[in-house]
Amino acid sequence: MREGLTIAGRTFTSRLIVGTGKYPSHAIMKAAHLASGADMVTVAVRRVDISRKTESLLDYIDTSQIFLLPNTAACYTADDAIRTARLGREAGMSNWVKLEVIGDEQTLFPDNEGLLEATRVLVKEGFVVLPYTNDDPVMCRKLADAGAAAVMPLGAPIGSGLGIQNPNNIRIIKEQATVPVIVDAGVGTASDAAVAMELGADGVLMNTAIAGADDPVMMAGAMKLAVEAGRMAYLAGRIPRKSYASASSPLDGVIGSRAR
């Protein structure tokens, strides 16, 4: 059961995409990446600290094995997101971007209008655009129509660890999608990742659930297994839900008072 995740013609071994933020140390991040099996990680684009030399994140990412996906986190307008995407492309030498246009500081929910506008511009400029979006099937369709290479609906607010809040929407998004669906944000623990995959998602993207765990490396391993288990369960086809029991053992040959 080793089928990869293909986005815009590029195939990844793992259906788990992980972040690089908020780890206790770069060394722990590197070990967690290894344990997760992920071959794509997200990075943020920020000003270089001119005043002091800091360790480079890239010293802890083997970019021959792991693909870098720059994000436009903390951008609140389409223009800022476009500008950040262009800088990320120049810094990373790939034309992929995890596009975020945020509409609200407290929830970090996306600004749909800005997101759609930025997607159109960046697609036209040749970017492979992976937009972080609401768990809204209509919005996901519009993004795919605008040329997004995948859609990345949120499971719950970024960093909240609440799990998949609207499983039915995720299922509908996947059923209707013409591009891969990556559940991005909201995962708290392994079962959340499994649920996302069981709903049919093509992949899961997470950062805080691993980086913020007491043992990030062990949690990364748990997430790897959960994503694989959820994918297998999805492909295997679960049984329908029923209200009443149906016995697993034969009813014939029972001894005792109910024997027949």
Binding site: I50, L87, A91
Partner: protein, 66 residues
């Protein structure tokens, strides 16, 4: 002359290329991206792009994020 570097005023003796500025700041050019007056400077153009008085320069790199 004064430029704006990553949002703050920065003093330079004279106009210089993007390559020269990065060297002066001891920044590895391979790991950053540079914007000059809101336009991205391609790496191939670092030697030929000259920073003048009042220019706005942004130098960014990758940091941890989700």
């Amino acid at each position: 002359m004064t430029i704006k570097l990553n949002g703050d005023p920065h003093e330079l003796h004279a106009p210089l290329s993007v390559s020269a500025l990065l060297a002066q700041l001891e920044i590895d050019a391979r790991r950053v991206a540079v914007e000059l007056n809101l336009a991205v400077v391609k790496k191939a153009a670092y030697d030929s792009s000259v920073i003048e008085e009042g220019d706005e320069v942004e130098i960014v790199n990758f940091v941890g994020g989700g």
